[in-house]
C-alpha cells in the first residue's frame, strides 16, 4: 500500500497558516484606513446653537453635510424623479454656498436585489445623474467625486417596499 502525502491539503495548511500570521497586518491597515476615512460624527444638537466661529472645521462640515438632502430613485432606474428636483436644487444651492469650500462625494446605493457588478454600476449611474444635475446648476465638476456601494450600505434592512425605496438613493458626503 503506497503512502501518499496529501499535497494539496498540506499546501492549503501551509498557505493558510502562513497567511494567518500576516493577517493582522492586512487587518490593521484596512481597519485603520477605514477609521481615518470615516467622517467624524459629532453631536450636532449640542453644537448647533453655538456660534459657528467656535466650531471646529470638522464639526462645521458635519453640520452642513446633514443639510444636504438624499435623492431617491425608482426601481431599476437612474433618472431623477420629478419630486426629487426640489431636493436637488436645494443641494446644489448648499454646495455652491455653505459647502463651497468642501469637496462633494456622491454615494450611489441600490436596494437588495443583487450584489453583482451591475447593481454597483446602477448605483454609480445614479450618482452620475446627480453629479450632472449639480453641474448643470453651477457646481464645479472637479469638486464632485462618486462611489457606488451597490446594495452593501442599506439605510433600512426591513423586507418592505418602503424600506427598499429608502435604499435606492444617492447620499451626499462632504470632504475637506
Amino acid at each position: 500500500m503506497k503512502s501518499i502525502v496529501l499535497a494539496s491539503a498540506v499546501a492549503a495548511l501551509l498557505v493558510l497558516s502562513g497567511c494567518g500570521d500576516k493577517d493582522p497586518q492586512v487587518d490593521a491597515n484596512d481597519g485603520a484606513v477605514a477609521e481615518q476615512a470615516a467622517p467624524v460624527k459629532s453631536a450636532p444638537s449640542v453644537k448647533a446653537p453655538v456660534a459657528s466661529n467656535s466650531e471646529t472645521a470638522a464639526e462645521y462640515m458635519a453640520r452642513i453635510e446633514k443639510e444636504l438632502k438624499t435623492i431617491y430613485f425608482d426601481f431599476d432606474k437612474f433618472s431623477i424623479k420629478a419630486d426629487m428636483q426640489a431636493n436637488l436644487s436645494a443641494d446644489a444651492s448648499i454646495a455652491n454656498s455653505k459647502a463651497s469650500k468642501f469637496l462633494v462625494k456622491l454615494e450611489g446605493n441600490c436596494d437588495e436585489w443583487g450584489s453583482d457588478e451591475y447593481n454597483f454600476a446602477l448605483g454609480l449611474k445614479r450618482a452620475e445623474t446627480v453629479k450632472k444635475a449639480l453641474v448643470a446648476e453651477g457646481v464645479d465638476a472637479n469638486r464632485v467625486s462618486m462611489v457606488s456601494f451597490g446594495e452593501s450600505s442599506p439605510a433600512c434592512t426591513d423586507k418592505t417596499k418602503e424600506c427598499w425605496a429608502q435604499n435606492r438613493r444617492v447620499d451626499f458626503k462632504l470632504l475637506p
Partner: protein
Amino acid sequence: MKIIISILLIMISIFANDATIDVIKKADTLPSIALEDASVSYDSTFKVKFFKSLVADLNVLSIFNVDRVQRNVNFDASSVLVENKDMNYVLRYKLSQDDSNSLSLEMKLISKDNVVFNKNYKVNSSDIYMFVSHTIAYDINNFMGESPVEWIKRKVIFSRMISPQRSELVVTDYTLTYQHVVVKGGFNLFPKWSNKEQSAFYYTSLNETKPTLKHIDLKTGKSKVIKSSDGMMICSDVNEDGSKLLFTMAPNGQPDVFIYDVKTQNTKKLTNYGGIDVSGQFMGSDSIIFVSDRLGYPNIFSLNINSGSVAQMVYYGKSNSACSVHGKYVVYKARESSDSFSNNTFNLHLVSMESDFIRRLTAVGVNEFPKFSIDGDAIIFVKNYQSQSSVGIIRLNHNKNYLFPLQFGKIQSIDW
C-alpha cells in the same frame, strides 16, 4: 426498424453531451456505498464530523446511493460488516493522530470482499480534515472512471457582509466547513483568485478616497495596490495564465470594461457604450462576454477584442445581470419578475452557443454570481433566500443542486 434505431442512436449521440438537456437519472440505478469507520484516534465528536463530511462529499459526486449510518469496524477485518453485505461498495477508513498533531488516514474501497482501491493520506493538522475528505471523494470519483472533479479540492474565496459598509474576505472549502478570514475590517468586495494555484487574490477596497484594486499574496501576506478609479474598480476576471485581467472601471462615472496586462501594467478600454458595461469574462483568447444595458435592460453580450464587434448572446430573460462562460456554454442570472413591491426571483439559466435550448438551473430565491468550475463540470453560485445566504453547487451532468448555508452574514460575491 433499422432506420428507427439509427435515428435513435443519432439522437442519443447528439444530445448525450449537451448540458442544456436535463438528464434525469433514477436514484435506484446508482451503485450503493456504505462507510465503515475503523479510526483509532480522536473523540467521537470529531469522528462523526469526519464521517458526515465524507458522506456529503460522496453524495455530491452524484454517482452513488450513500448509506448514512456510521458503523465501526476493525480496519483489518477480513470481510465487511453483515449490515453492509448487500452494498456494492464499502469504504473503510482509519483516522489516526501522531505526536505532531498531524492527521493520517488509511482508506480502502471494498467490493464483493475484495479491496479494489486503497490510498493513504496525511495532513499537518486535523483542522483541515475536510480537505482530506474532499480528496478521498476526488480519488474515488477518478477510480470509478467518472470525469474529474478538480473543483472539489479547490478553495473558495468570498466577501461576507457584516453590517452596512463592513465586510470581510474569507477563504473556505466548497462546503464552507473550513473558514479562514484573510482580510478583516473595512469595506472589501469582489475577491478574485489571481492564479490557478490560488496562492494570491485581487479584491476591491472601498476604504480609500477612490475605489482601489489590491492584490494579496497569501504566502507572504504582502498587499499591494494595483489601480484605483473614481466610481468603480473591480477585477471581473483573470485569464487562464493570470497574465491578463478584465476590469470594470468608471474613471468619469461611466462604467466600462477594460483589459489589463499584468506584466506591462497597460490598461486598454474595450467598451464605449454610454450606459452600463460591466462584468467582463474571458471567452477564449480573443473574445469576452459582458453585461450591458445597451438594449434598455441588462443582458449578456460578446465582444471580439480584435475587431470590436459586439453580439447579443442571450435572448431569454427580462434582466440578465451576471454570467460565466465555459466552452460553448453560458450560465447567466435572469430576473424572473419585475416588481418593486414584492419579492423578486432571480434564477440561473444555461444556454449553449450551438443550440437554442435553455435550461433553468434554479427555482426560488435570488440566485447570483454563477461561476463555472475550471473543468466546466460544475457551477458554483450564491443563493439568498429567506434571509439565508448559501453557496450552491450545480452538477450539470447529474442534474443535481447542493446548498451549503452560511452561518452568519450575507455573501456579497464569490470566486473559486
